[in-house]
């Protein structure tokens, strides 16, 4: 373990090998490399930072333990995403199964996910709409449309057929477009927040309700 842990010549796979060989810094370095994108995926799939942190912790501890059995037939990042998304879906299911637990439903609204004035409303609305999707659909659309991974890779991450990824994405986009109709040009005032046409909910006043129920499309056939 005398070689440096960082640098272009040490790839993710090598870090996994070092971790498996007992190098205690290797896994931390692997996490450091990828934590921001894993965080984005968890945060946007689950919709609030507390759940995202819980899921990431579960996921990384699982990955830490499982890394010794890592199979080289997937990229390390694909494998990490898969573990993180699984943990997110577990957290979402746990929450759905325990609706009475007063977890923090409040915080998601004032997250610092905002940049310029011009984008602020839009991205706030997009994030609020995202939180209303069933978790499986949210995960698909987060990975494909937000993170930009190829559908085939997302199919590996989600462990579903490519057609299922596509149909989850399509459903998610359809729902998102519907909840964001007030932003559409031609509906109310073009491009400027459009208060007129019954905007579907100000995220600050209407806490989003995560749809965890019936239209969970697990096991659906690709069409």
């Amino acid at each position: 373990m005398s070689e440096p842990l960082t640098g272009p010549d040490v790839d993710d796979r090598a870090l996994i090998d070092r971790h498996a060989a007992g190098d205690r810094d290797a896994f931390a370095e692997l996490v450091r490399r990828h934590r921001d994108r894993l965080w984005r995926v968890a945060l946007r799939t689950l919709g609030n930072p507390e759940d995202a942190a819980d899921a990431l912790q579960d996921a990384l501890l699982s990955a830490y333990r499982a890394a010794g059995g890592f199979r080289g037939d997937a990229a390390v990042t694909t494998w990490l995403h898969r573990i993180v998304v699984n943990a997110c879906l577990d957290v979402a299911r746990k929450k759905a199964a325990r609706p009475s637990v007063p977890l923090s439903d409040t915080p998601a609204d004032d997250r610092p996910a905002r940049d310029t004035i011009g984008d602020r409303e839009t991205s706030g609305d997009v994030l609020a709409a995202l939180r209303t999707l069933p978790p499986e659909q949210a995960a698909a659309v987060v990975l494909v449309d937000i993170e930009g991974y190829p559908v085939a890779e997302v199919a590996v991450m989600l462990d579903v057929p490519v057609g299922t990824v596509k149909s989850r994405c399509a459903r998610a986009r359809g729902r998102l477009a519907e909840s964001l109709q007030h932003l559409a040009p031609g509906k109310g005032a073009p491009g400027s927040g459009a208060p007129g046409s019954g905007a579907p909910g100000n995220p600050a006043t209407a806490p989003p309700v995560r749809n965890t129920g019936d239209d969970n499309d697990d096991g659906e056939e690709p069409r």
């Binding site: 965080w39 984005r40 912790q57 990384l60 699984n86 929450k95 596509k166 986009r173 998102l176 069409r223």
Partner: protein, 290 residues
């Protein structure tokens, strides 16, 4: 799949069309309709704009508090070799682990255990709060200041309810009921909290009855680093169904962190996250108490 009356398309159908999911005839009909329906075309444009808005969401780096928490959790994993029972660890995220893969994982776990357990780890964060307790006498010195409250609530802790329950412990602590605090040993089942809903498993008795044993556990969790006495210790059970951990005996440690803004909740099994079980069930940061 669904085209509403008059041939108009809804967002679901438009999204399926865009993704190539509509069958040949339906797709042809949809395209023909789009060619002559400005309202459906504008919906299609809105759908595309929605995708662009998704792609344009601002970047969001991991907050420092979260990365600190994950670092600490991974340090805990390194210090205790494995984090949940091996049978649970083997299952969750590999679809079908091969025998060779399992053997390799076991070999790695054994190797990591051999290499890591009991060694002193260094990390880059100073621990100013705890410096006074450094060194070999840490256990004794912490013990000298050890009036920390110990309760046996018997509560079922889960990853979901842990923050709430820990906060509840602290609230209860603020009330004048610290029957066990200050004594040299907590009685086996004092239940000073009234929220008891299960019996505290017998396996926890050695820890329940000895603050010194609890402090040895904290010392092991801190893996040689300086540490301070717990803020609160509770005994109960831990359940995490997705990884098949059900009502396992659990000691809940609320420990001061090296940052003023949060404390740390650790949930461990009777042998305190050491071999043979290595049960560190949970590590979470909780907001610091005023």
């Amino acid at each position: 799949m669904s085209e509403p009356a008059a041939g108009h398309l809804d967002f679901a159908a438009l999204a399926e069309l865009d993704e190539g999911l509509l069958g040949g005839a339906a797709a042809d009909a949809a395209r023909a309709h789009l060619a002559e329906c400005p309202s459906c075309r504008s919906m299609q444009e809105h759908l595309a704009a929605t995708r662009s808005a998704l792609a344009a969401l601002p970047d969001e780096p991991m907050p420092t508090a979260v990365s600190a928490r994950l670092d600490a959790a991974l340090r805990g994993a390194a210090g205790t070799a494995t984090v949940v029972p091996a049978q649970a660890a083997a299952v969750p995220f590999w679809r079908r682990p091969t025998a060779a893969g399992l053997a390799a994982a076991a070999a790695v776990a054994a190797l990591v255990a051999g290499v890591v357990v009991g060694t002193t780890r260094h990390h880059d964060k100073a621990r100013p709060l705890n410096e006074a307790a450094a060194g070999a006498g840490a256990v004794q010195r912490a013990a000298a200041a050890a009036n920390f409250p110990v309760t046996s609530s018997g509560q079922q802790y889960t990853p979901v309810n842990a923050p709430t329950l820990v906060a509840g412990l602290l609230k209860a602590k603020a009330a004048p009921l610290a029957s066990g605090a200050g004594g040299t040993a907590a009685s086996p089942n004092p239940s000073p909290l009234t929220l008891t809903n299960t019996q505290v498993p017998d396996a926890l008795a050695p820890l329940e009855s000895s603050r010194a044993a609890i402090l040895r556990c904290v010392a092991a969790l801190r893996a040689g680093e300086p540490f301070a006495a717990p803020i609160h210790v509770d005994f109960g059970v831990f359940t995490n169904r997705p990884i098949h951990v059900i009502n396992q005996p659990a000691m809940i440690l609320l420990l001061p962190a090296d940052k003023p803004t949060f404390d740390e909740a650790w949930i461990v099994g009777p042998n305190c996250a050491t071999a043979p079980d290595n049960n560190l069930y949970l590590y979470q940061q909780v907001p610091a108490q005023p």
